[in-house]
Structure formats: C-alpha cells, structure tokens
Symmetry: D2
C-alpha cells in the first residue's frame, strides 16, 4: 500500500461537503481520510450559508479560495484547477445526497458518500448508472463492515468455514429518538430529521438501519430477496419511522431477522450480528468491535481478536495497533478511505487495483431497494420482493 502511495507521488485531494468543525461525523470523515496520509482535505462547503461555510473552511485550515460558499461553485472552480480535488466526500442532510453526488460524478470526481445514498431506489439507480458511465468510484461509508473483525467474519463465510449460511440475525438499536424530541426546542438537526421529505422514506433506515442491512449482507455474502416487515414508530404519535423489524429471505437461501430502532429507551447504541451456518456460527457486536466470536459445532467457542497472528494479511492490515489496544470507528472509516485511494492511485498508474471490500454505490442501491420492500411489505401485511439492481 505504502509503495503504491509512493509511486503515485502525492496524497489524493479531497473536497468535503458538510460536517463543519464541531460536527462529529465531519471530524470522523476528515480525520479518517487523513489518518494514513493518502488524502489531504483541501476544499469544502460546510454550510448552506456561504459566509458560515467560508468561515468554517478557514477554521479547518483550508486555503481561503477553496473554502467555498456552495457546492455548484466548488465543483465548477475545482474542475478548472490544475490541482483539482480527486474526490468529493458528502455528509449533508439526506435529501441533498443525490444532487450533490450526481453533480460530483458528472464533473468527473470520485465520491465518498455518507448513507443513505439517495432518497429512493430510483435515485440510487441513477447514481449507479452515472458512476458506471463515468468510470468513477463511489464509496459508501458503512464503517461497520470496515472493521478488521467484520471483514474477517466475511472471510470465514466466503472461505466456507461456516458451511452454508442458514440464519442471519442483525440489529441496530439505539436511544437517540427515545424521548419526545418533537416537543423539545427547535434544533437544526431535528428540523430535517423529523421531516420525512428531507430524511427519507423511513428515517431509522436512513440513519442506522442501512448499516445493519449492509453489514448482514456483507458478512453473509448475500443479498436480500424477500422481506416481511413492520415499519412504524414505537413513539406514539411520531410522524417519522423510528422502528423496523423484519423477517428476511436471502438470495442464497438463508433466513434472517432484522431489528432497528432509534426509540429504544435506555439502550446502548449497538449494532450486533450473528450468522449461523451449517458448521458453526459467528457473532460480532460494535461494543466489542475488535473481537469476533467463532463457534464451530462440537468445539468450544473462540474469541478472535484484531491483531491475532494467524489472521490473513489483509485482515491484519486493516488494524493499526496490536491486539488489546482499542481502535475505533475512526480507523474503520480510514480503511474505506485508504482503499478508495489505493484503487484510484492504481487506476491512475495504469495498474489493476486490488478488489477492495469497501461498500459501493451498488450496495447503496440494494439498501434503497430493501427499504422500499420493507415499506411495501408493511403496507400490504405480507412478504414483499426486493427489487434487483439494474444490469
């Protein structure tokens, strides 16, 4: 990896949209991108108010002329620069994801987009087509599937260690909307979150459910074919969706269960996954992100840890400290950014890139198809098909 970076001769240049100073998700993206020296944040738009945006960019140390006032301006000006950015990272409210990503792709930039990739499946397919047409890269920052141990879980599944996958259980439960935030003082964040036009077809799915669904599909190495879902609000009177529970049928024949909610009072924020196969099972929880439980039938369960010497090299490389030294979501995000950089650098050098497992726009589109199927299933009171991706 380092060699590729050296051959390329410079870090890639990143523009960010959203996530100004003080927004933790912005710090997460910017910090992750720069963690390994593969990216430099050099341009950005941080607010819909041009003055605030400019001030924020300055506070982050950008050159004044690259602390832009709006996205259209940034894209237009960057296109004209010799040292134009290589990619645009998008971490704005959900309803802006599609237009900003479409504009960036059309201008010839790679995209690192926060989830959900779009408002609905049609928009997501549109981005998928633009990405394909332009030969661009489009990464979706599902950090949970970028931990060494979730990567290793997928490795075990693909390697046949579990045999055929038979049952997948995934959940993402948190308490962020467990109180009546609707009744609290106005708040920029809740303004768009509590507005279904802006936050999307099912708030909880865009916020956290997509992470759970992607993680399950990623590790089980499968797509969801059919679903029977309950979609609604645990909080009485709430206008947005704060809870989805579902029964799943995967395209490889496995069964599954899925529960996501932001309205679980008192709950620890946690995403948990269990995969049961023919020969054994594995279990992972975000709360113990550096560990993976592997239990083969007839053997004592084992706790595998990030850094264990017997892990495959690509899994070891996804960690940065020895076993027993905690790493966090930042390093998982950094894995995604590093892989996108490696792929872009390799392509630029005319080399064949390693096929890295970071989530892509096709994954984001499958998520949107899944969300729409959940809603349809709930409305009809029966199982619904998940739409396939366009060829």
């Amino acid at each position: 990896m380092r060699t590729l970076r050296d051959r390329f001769g410079r870090p890639l240049r990143l523009a960010v949209v959203g996530g100004g100073p003080g927004a933790w998700i912005g710090d997460m993206h910017r910090g992750a991108a720069q963690l390994d020296g593969h990216w430099q944040v050099v341009a950005g738009v941080f607010s819909s108010d041009p003055e605030r945006s400019h001030a924020a960019g300055m506070a982050l140390g950008l050159a004044p002329e690259r602390a832009y006032g709006d996205v259209a301006q940034m894209i237009a000006r960057e296109r004209g620069r010799d040292d134009a950015v290589d990619a645009v990272a998008i971490m704005t409210p959900n309803d802006t994801h599609h237009p900003y990503a479409a504009a960036a792709l059309d201008a010839g930039f790679d995209v690192v987009g926060d989830k959900p990739v779009a408002h609905d499946f049609a928009q997501a397919c549109d981005l998928l087509q633009r990405t394909r047409k332009g030969g661009r890269l489009f990464a979706v920052t599902h950090g949970y599937s970028a931990y060494p141990m979730t990567r290793y879980a997928r490795h075990l599944v693909r390697d046949g260690v579990l045999g055929d996958v038979r049952l997948v259980q995934v959940e993402y439960i948190q308490s962020g909307l467990a109180t009546r935030v609707e009744d609290g003082p106005p708040n920029r964040r809740y303004d768009w979150i509590l507005n279904p036009q802006r936050s999307g077809l099912a708030l909880v799915m865009g916020a956290i459910g997509c992470h759970a669904q992607h993680l399950a599909c990623f590790v089980a190495d499968a797509s969801i074919a059919r679903v029977s879902a309950e979609v609604g609000a645990l909080m009485p009177g709430r206008r947005v969706v704060d809870h989805v529970s579902a029964l799943l049928a995967f395209d490889n024949g496995a069964r599954g269960t899925f529960t996501v909610t932001q309205a679980a009072a008192g709950a620890e924020n946690d995403i948990r996954l269990r995969v049961f196969g023919e020969k054994g099972s594995l279990e992972w929880s975000h709360r113990q992100a550096s560990y993976l439980q592997l239990a083969l039938q007839g053997e004592a369960p084992r706790t595998i840890g990030r850094g264990d010497a017997f892990l495959p090299p690509e899994i070891l490389a996804a960690g940065r400290t020895p076993r027993g030294h905690p790493e966090g979501l930042r390093e998982a995000f950094a894995n995604i950014y590093r892989e996108v950089a490696a792929e872009r650098m390799a392509l630029a050098l005319g080399e064949t890139p390693v096929q890295a497992p970071y989530p892509r726009i096709a994954d984001g589109a499958h998520t949107m198809a899944f969300i729409e199927a959940c809603i349809r299933s709930h409305q009809d009171g029966r199982w619904a098909q998940v739409a396939p991706l366009p060829q």
Copy 2:
C-alpha cells in the same frame, strides 16, 4: 411459607410420570419438588414397559407397591389410598401430555405438567376447562420465568418502572438439532422427537419456543394478539420444524420479535429477553440467570443481582443463597413446586392463597394458540390472529 408448611403438618405427596433415573429432566423435577421440603415423591410411572417402570421406581427409593406399571393403574390405586398423592407431575413425550393430565385432573389430582401442555389449542382448552371444573391446580414448568431475576423483571414492568412496554425481543437458540440426527443411530429420544405426530405441530415450539414465548408474555405482562411468522427447518430436508422467527403484536400495543431454533450450529444454549419501554429497558439472559440489566433513559445501566438487599421480599425469597453464589434451573423449578404446594396447602387449610406467579394451564393454552397462529401465518404469508382463550 415455612409457617404454612408447619400448619399443614406434612409435605405434599407427588406422583411422577416419566423421567426415570438418568433422565436429567426427571432428576430436575424430582429434585426441585423435594428441595424445600414441601413435596415428597412417593409414587410414579417411569416407562411404558411395566417392568422397567417398576425397577426404576425401586431404584428411586419408592415403596414397591407405588412403583406402578402404567398411569391408569397408578391413578386408580392412588385414588383408593388414605395417603394418596396430592399431585401428578408429567414429563413424558409430548403426545401423552393431554391424556395423562386429563386423567389426573379427572381423578382429582393437581397437575404439574412439563411443556407443551398438549398437542394443539383444542386439547389445551380441554385441559383448561377440566382444571377449572375440578377446582384443581395446573402448573406448567416454564422454569425460566421462575428465576428471581425474571420475576423481578416482571415486577419492574408491572410497577411502571419502564412505562408502557413498546418492544419485546425474545429468543431461544440452541444447537441440539444442528447436525443430521436423522442419519444417526436409532435413539429412543429422537424416535418421538422426529415424529411430528408425537412431538407436536412444530417441534421447536414444543421443545423450547414455548419457553421463550411464555417468558416474553410473563415479563411484558401481556398476551400476543397477532403474529407474522416463518416456520420451517434450517436443516435442509428435515421433516420437523427446527426454526421459527416471528414478528409479534402484543395485546397491550407493544411490538415484538421472536426467534427460536434448535438447529443453530455452534450456538450456546441460551434464552434471552429484552423489553424496551417508554422510560427504559431491561435485558436478561439465561446464561447470566442471576442478573438483570436495567437501563433507564438518561441513566447508566445497572446490573441487578439475585440477593440485592433492595429487592422486594417475594423476589428475595425466590433465591436461596447470597448474591454472587450461583443458583441454577433446579432452584427455579423448585420455586414453581413450592408455590404450587403453598397454594394447595392454603386452600386445604381454608385460607386464601397468595396469588403466585407460576405458569398455569391458561398460559399453556395461550402458547398453543400462538403456535397455531405462527403456522397459519407461515402458510398464508401474512399476519395471523392468535385465538383468545375460552371464557
């Protein structure tokens, strides 16, 4: 309690059907019944072969004339004795539960029945009616809801500590049928288990699913009104049901999820429950049966333990050793037997018994209605109503 036992003047006399020496569930019942000195096992039938039955009874220390050859004989003879048994405990293959229980009830004995109480809902309603008509007691040995900490979980719910219950998650997952036992050497136990005529409408529900459903209803203090279920076999080609996953709607408005399987390769045998309410949540796992997690919104989660001095007296009384000294399923079973004894002794003395929370035939009948609804939902591919109990 001791006082009541002293006033009554003798331990109650118990006949057991099934569970001879070496059968762990038999040891469990007999040991639990006698743990606190409220019951004495004095009669029994232990095999469908009269000679084996007699020998087993002798090995257990019964008087020769009370080591019976079959149930009908036992019931007939016991009725005629001055020192007749007070109750019959049934732990035979599932298809015999209804006839044996019906015979015992009709002969005027109380019943302690292992689950499932019957083959189907109609049979269960029949037992319910016989129990009511005869003024008998009918306990179902769902030991999981008899632990001090699941009792306390229910106490917290009923006390309003969680506020309205909004989401209930329950699962019972094990690996007992994770291999192709169908292909193994013939085995008395698998003979009846793998035969749907004998093991019931849905094997996994009779074996463990009923425990999960009862525990959820018990703690959430609610019944299940509707269900959307997947009912089948994770093991390819299996004739009996080894997996059920379901979405639940409770009669108090709460939502729920339910997963039970005996075909989870590598899985720890565990029953887990989480209840999320308006103000907080609680979590319990059989693996840590002596502890209960309580997390109120805005506060740090607490780990409450059996024996904590602040617990209500009836919860403390359900434990027998100080916090930090493990107790097991035996003591939970013993709570059920002790409560049945206390109720019968109080009634015999003309006193008003304390309303103990042990599971009764009405609970067993609700379980059968739930199982039938799951099957109906699966067949129809949509939500199904759970039939109400007869008035």
Copy 3:
C-alpha cells in the same frame, strides 16, 4: 456410581451439626447431601440450646429421638444404634470445628466439615492424625473446587496442556463486612465472627480466604511454600482481619498473588482464578462458574462450558444438566457429598475406591499452615515459610 449405590443397598446416613432451618449454609449442606440419593439426613444438633435444637430437627423432619440436644449426646446415642449415622457434617461457628470433628472421628464416624477445619495449624494436624489413625474420611467443603469447570482446569494443568505453571492469581472479594457492622444492632452471627477468639486467627481467611487458597492449590496442583503477606483491616479501627493480600511462591516454582477481603464496598461476591503456564493460561470466575476460559499462546481464547461433549467423562459426570442450563453451588457441594459416599460405600464393600478430588483434612491443614505463615510474614515484614504437613 449408581451401580455402587445399588450394590451398597441403602443411602448413607448423615448427622448434621449446625445449620438449622433458615440458615442458608445448612440448607446447602442438607440439600447437597440428598441431591443424588446417596445420603439421608437422619440426625442432628441445630442449636446450643437443646430445646431450640430439638424443635429445629423436628421442623426438618427428623425422628424426634434423633433431633438431639447437644453433640456429645448425639455421638453417644448414635454409636449405640443399629442404624447409626455413617458420617457427621459440621457447619457451626469456627471455634467448635475441632472439638466436634475430633469427637466424631474418635467415635468412628466420617466427617464432612465446613471450613476452616480448626483454629490453628496444630489443631488441624491433630485432626489429620486422628483421621489417619481411625481410617476415616474427612472432607472439607470447599465447593469452588468441586465445580466441573474448576475440576477441568486442574485436569488441564495435570495433563500438561499449559506446560509448567508459572503464575497463579487468585482472589475472593466481597462486601459482607464493608460497612461498620460493629456499630449495628447485636446479631448472633456477628457476635462470634467479630470475636477473634471464636472466628479464628484471621477472620477473612477462615471465612473466604481459605476457599481462594485451596482453589489455587487445587487447580495449580501445588502447595504454597513461601508467602509475603499483608494482613489487616481495610475498615479503620476493626479488631478482626478483613483483608489479606499476598505474594506466593509455590512448591513447583510458580509465583502467585492472592487477595481476599470482605470489606470491599460495592464489590460483587466473586472468587476468580487465573493460571498462566508455559503454553497458555486459563481463567475462571465464580460468577460464570459453568465456563472456563482457555487461551493457548498463538491461538484464539476458547470458552469451554460444562456439558461440552469433548470433556472427560468424570468432568461431564460432575454436571447434571446440558450446557447452557445454569447450575450452582448446590450441585458443587453435591459433588463432594457424592464422592465421599462413593468412597465410603466402596470401602464398605471391600472395593478399591476411585481416588476422588474432593478436599480432605490434609488440604485443610495446609490452609492453616498458610494462614499462620501470612500472619508471621506480616508481623516480620518479610517472606515467611509455610510449615509442611506432618508425615
């Protein structure tokens, strides 16, 4: 085992001294003895007040003439009976252990004694000699080393799975004396506990420290040769010892640490052991008594559970329910009682008994030597030798 019991033809008869109804440790002994049908409690003394003793025995269902008023009377009368007891179980305040045990041994009874076995090492050696001279059995109820998983830990050590043992860490920490019980209302239990003449040379050692020391020696398969200890009270102004921490040197060259206290405010009652060897380590905690962590160098740590099919038969036999069904201290005590019974029955039948691993008077004497060495080390401010057992 069952066969031996059948050949012997009757359960052994047990007399108990102390632990009347309502005393949890009494329930524990009586329940454990009778759990598997190898013992019947038929006689006892339950109070220093003859009338209370008699009433307690009656409440426990003893024949009136065997609910004795004092120990001397019991021993004298039982000796004269055709159906005399086979053993005496002692669970009285510490200062009475030696005289009662000596009397029982001298009268030809086996002894099951609660810990500590005596007031000091000299008394313990005296009991050891009497036991040897009379050809009696003398079991000490260190229940913690009678769990299947601590038994298996020892098995792994003896089997060489860890290689040479290098470091042993053991602790027993609880909060029973974390408040100023000295200032509370008078209380029969505190009366003798807070009186060093009655509770022994170092209260915390007699109460719980002996369990920790025995468990460490049992699993590490070693004796303690030297110690550097701090012996005192964490609670300011306390007259009895509520805390001992020590550095250990075992006779097999291993190093160790030892901490026991009853004055740890807020602490979970827990005994924990870790053994590090040449090739790996193991860890056990009473809080998860049915599990053992085994971590071999270079491999992922494994969680072995009671009931795992690959365990040796004698370990499996020390459990009574499948993996995932909690068992408790009662079953561990029952293992001790069952093993004493098996040994006595085999001897009575002229057979060679299996050498069972229950703790014996020699272990109890080593404990007393260790306690005296701790005190000497503390007084001298340097390492002290642990006295060897008499040949």
Copy 4:
C-alpha cells in the same frame, strides 16, 4: 479549546524523534498529535542512520531540510529557524530518552516523551529539574490515564464518591515475551529490549509496568509510599525482568496490589484497575476502555459510558463520538497532545492555562522511584520505601 486555538492563530509545530513510517507507536504519536488540528509534524529524526532518517522523514511528507540526520543537528538547526518547532516528541529506545529530552529542554523546547522517562530515578530527577528551571512543559504519554473513563474514575475519587480509598488493584498483563524470543532470529527491537543496559532497570516496568503504576496513582489520586515486590522472570533463564508482582502502600493510607508481566502465555493484552473505597468501588479494563463500572455499596453496579449526558463537560470533551461508537488509544493520546497544546498556547498568550491532567515529568520521576523501590524490596526480601521527589 477551539477559541484558544483560534486566538493562537496557528497549530503548534512538532518535531518527532523515532517512530518512523511503519512503527505503530510512531503512527500513534504523529496521528494523535494532528488529530484535532493543534499540532503539525514538521521536523524529525527517524533513525540513527542519517540517510534512513532522511528518507523516512521525506516519506512522511516533511520538508527535505527538516528530515534531519540526528537529534543534535535537529535541535541546533530548529533553534535557528523563525518557524522553529514548539516541542519535541521522543519515542526512541529507552536508553536515549534522557539525553534527547535533556537536550530538547535545554534548547527551550517542550517535550512529549514516551515512557520510561529515563534509565533511573536520578536521571528522571535531572529532567524534572531541567523542566522546572526552563519553565518548560514535559508530558509523558501514559495514554491509559487519558481515556475519558479513567479520567472520570479519578474525578469520582477526587469528588469523594467512593469515600476514602482503601484498596487499589492494578495489573498489566500481556504475552509479548511469553515465548523464548531470545532464541529467535535477531531483531532490531529485541536487540535493545533484551539488553538491560538499554531497556532499563526492569524491562517489564519500562515497557508496561509504568503504565499500570501511573494509572493506579492517577485514579487513586495518591503516590506509592512503600512496596513489597517480587521482581524477576517467569521465563526460565531470562536475563531481563518480565514479571513484577507487588504489595503497595499508598501515601493516603490505601493498600494495593500490582502485577505486570509480558510473559503470560495466551493472555489478552489488558490493563485493569479496581479501586475500592469507603462507599463503593470502580473497575476499568482497557479491553472495554469506553466504559467504567461503578458499584456503590447497597446499590446495583452501574456501567457508565463515554458520552453519557450526565458526565462533567471536561470528561465529555475527552471523547469525540457518541456513546456506543468505539474510540481507541489514538484518541487517548490525542487528549494528551491537545492538552499540552492548550497549555502552551495559553502561556504564550499570557493567559492562565487550565490545569490539565496529562502525565508530567514529576509523574515519570515517581515511576522511576517506584521501580527502584521494587528492585530494592526484592533484593532485601522485605518492604522498601519509595523515594520522594526532590522539592
């Protein structure tokens, strides 16, 4: 904090000594320093071979003239620059810590030093005096005491929530030297580590023991006054110290135990701390760094998490993501760097800095006094006094 940074007008400039590309501890320091935008790494020496050093600096993106060939050169040249570095961070083999730090201090630079700060107590006192004399800052990167939850633990102690501290247990156990690395192929790292002249008086203390000791003192808000220690090697024949266990007496009257080893085969790398006070106890493990267990006597234990809304603002500020999103050692290190920056910026602006809790040279000197006392105690077989710091 951001305001101070803005008022100061630029990030501080950092020179690093050691930790070139590929050394995880170097990535840790450089990444942590730059995480929040308070520092920029602009100069460095990365190897004792000037050419390798220069190449490494270039690979890290330094200006060619600031990728120095040796420390003396760097200090001399940086002193002469208008944009000289503000501080020097040192992460070289232990024997170079004192000379490099002394040179940096004498040249007027602040120092961020990896542990141990020096070879012995005398050297550490020398650095303490130089730091005082020059009015410099000297931070020691004990990252473990820079986690939000260990900070909060100290807060609880200082706030009196536990009452008087009575017992402190700390350990740092790992398996890095659990095999005969002495017999392996030559290795740059083992070269200096296995040489007591270079790695220090007691290898395990310089490597990890100092972290454990500092964490204990930090949280208990106390110094160690006396110690009874065993200092040696668990690995037979090893020339360096790989194990220390000790009994501690703190200056506030608390007792303690201490165990550190790198030779624990199979052990998870973990540092654990428990503090028992008059009213309750707390427990922290590096493995669950984002959580703190608090157990008050008579109440159920609580699991407090990084991000909990009720935490004091300075504790919340030490975290960067919401509860339930893992953070790691990188963020803990970043807290130290951020605090040093804030202090230096405030001093430069003539403001009174907030008294931040990062470890300083006085703490490092206490550590060296403790190590020397352990060795003395071991040699003498009795308790030893820990030397006080010079006034």
